[in-house]
């Protein structure tokens, strides 16, 4: 199945240009609902109402306002918002290449796959293979939907992928947390036992092992309801407090072996 492209443009670094198209790499499968009126099951519509005139406002009469003080707004025109987006361009400019493994995953926001264009296939392949060989990710800027993103360009499998990135000040640092510490550190015996427990639960990461069971249950339930038969579902137990750490560790290990 061919993927729909959401943007077309060119990767640029140091005088090298690679034409690409952008595809979403992920799709949200959360079950979404429509709002309906309880009385008649009819769809709910959201209407924009001007409270002063108490009447509906057509979309073309809506402007964006920034609240500068309580109840006071500065109106921003479309051209002014465009000014903030940065120079509109069809270029993704790569400024530098960093070790791909040095970027903690918390920085990665959304992932996109880059497809090659009919022209510049050689350049696409070369950039992919070189990134893969160097183990590096390109860091650059991308203007998409009127907003500039920090992006990381890297090789995944056989394709180039682009990640939009969170900015450093958007991340909550460990220094912002209140981490209470115990008066006594875990003993080496406890650490050793916990290590054994970790080892006993060791496995390779196989994403297809994990199904969204909640989504499955919800869709099954809806299906059953549509057919007029709804079944009840079993309950599960709650966990208890930590209690005796050492005893719990020992019990867990003997239960596992």
């Amino acid at each position: 199945m061919a993927l729909r492209s959401i943007w077309n443009g060119t990767i640029a670094f140091a005088g090298v240009f690679v034409p690409i198209k952008v595809h979403s790499a992920t799709e949200d499968k959360t079950v979404h609902f429509h709002e309906v009126h309880q009385d008649d099951g009819a769809r709910i519509e959201h209407k924009r109402i001007c409270p002063k005139e108490d009447k509906e406002v057509p979309y073309k009469e809506v402007v964006k306002g920034y609240e500068v003080s309580e109840g006071k707004y500065a109106v921003l025109e479309k051209e002014e918002l465009d000014a903030a987006a940065g120079a509109q361009s069809r270029l993704i400019e790569i400024e530098e290449f960093v070790c791909a493994d040095d970027i903690d995953p918390v920085f990665f926001d959304k992932t996109y796959y880059l497809g090659s264009q009919d022209t510049g296939k050689d350049a696409y392949r070369l950039l992919h293979d070189a990134l893969d060989k160097a183990g590096r990710a390109g860091i650059g800027r991308w203007v998409f939907h009127n907003r500039e993103y920090l992006v990381a360009l890297r090789a995944i499998d056989d394709v180039l992928a682009l990640n939009t990135m969170r900015f450093h000040d958007e991340l909550v640092s460990v220094k912002d947390l209140e981490l209470s510490t115990p008066s006594r550190k875990p003993s080496s015996r406890e650490l050793e036992m916990a290590g054994q427990l970790v080892e006993s639960l060791q496995a390779d990461f196989k994403p297809e092992q994990y199904e969204d069971t909640y989504r499955e249950r919800l869709l099954e339930y809806i299906d059953a309801k549509a057919k007029g038969k709804v079944s009840s579902l079993p309950k599960r137990d709650e966990a208890t407090d930590p209690g005796d750490l050492m005893a719990a560790l020992e019990a867990s290990i003997s239960a596992g072996s």
Partner: protein, 266 residues
């Protein structure tokens, strides 16, 4: 510290670590209101029934799910409760995996886990799990329920605390094989081309330093807002042209490499 979004316990084997979940990201975006152009009054969103053409109070609203057939099924709060996973207060660790084996494409929203309270038992159990994960360089995979939805999550040691990230499920990540990747014999780069490209990448190599990349968009938007506040005019930038694909890739690489080396020397 950010507000706790969830509290419960992290459980592995028979060990339970009481924890609280806080977001690891903060929203710094500038937010705008929709205004009516004529009178600059903030727009109100009202819910109207499409059949009766009248406003519907929030309590009189329920939800429906549209089946593939187009048929709609009403789903009430009670229906959602019936499927809601029961185990709502535990993060159940099922396995320990290598962090490097998980491509970041699976990572969704990052959170921090902090010990719930300063109780000795809770904080020691927290330190123990943190210590053993730091030692083994492994991450814990588990499931937990937040806002009535079950999430797959990865818990790992990061900067001396436990970090939790919700994960995308495998069927939410698209296969790379559907992407045009120009792979094949005819496009396979020659060794000298690949070496030159790797050299160029290395010449443009830098350490990953997140602090040096600021959100220019947010800064510019803030400037625009500040100017507006003072009643100044804001001008839009010009459009730029798109370059053509480079016909002679090798020549471009060599030139770029020369330039990059010159720059590095200077």
């Amino acid at each position: 510290m950010p507000r706790a979004l969830w509290s419960g316990s992290l459980s592995f084997g028979l060990v339970n670590v009481p924890v609280q979940l806080v977001s690891a990201v903060r929203d710094l975006d500038l937010h705008f209101h929709q205004l009516h152009e004529k009178d600059k009054v903030p727009i109100e969103m009202q819910r109207w029934c499409s059949e009766e053409d009248k406003e519907v109070p929030y309590e009189a609203i329920t939800r429906s799910y549209e089946l593939d057939s187009g048929k709609e099924v009403i789903v009430t709060d009670e229906d959602l409760e019936a499927v809601e996973p029961r185990k709502t207060r535990t993060i159940d660790i099922e396995q320990f995996v290598e962090v490097e084996d998980i491509d970041p494409i699976y990572f969704d929203h990052p959170y921090w886990l902090v010990p719930a309270g300063d109780d000795e038992g809770a904080t020691r159990a927290y330190r123990l799990l943190l210590g053993v994960m730091e030692q083994s360089d492994r991450a814990a995979l588990g499931r937990f329920v937040m806002r009535a939805k079950e999430h797959l999550a990865i818990v790992r040691a990061r900067d001396g605390a436990l970090s939790l990230t919700t994960m995308r499920f495998h069927d939410e990540v698209r296969a790379t094989k559907d992407v045009a990747s120009a792979s094949g014999k005819s496009t396979k780069p020659a060794k000298e081309e690949l070496d030159a490209a790797v050299d160029l990448i290395e010449a443009l190599g830098a350490d990953w330093d997140p602090d040096k990349h600021d959100d220019q968009y947010r800064k510019r938007l803030q400037k625009v807002v500040n100017k507006k506040r003072k009643g100044q005019k804001v001008e839009a930038p010009e459009q730029r042209d798109e370059p053509d694909a480079v016909p002679d890739l090798m020549a471009a690489l060599e030139q770029s490499l020369k330039d990059a080396r010159k720059k590095a020397k200077a």
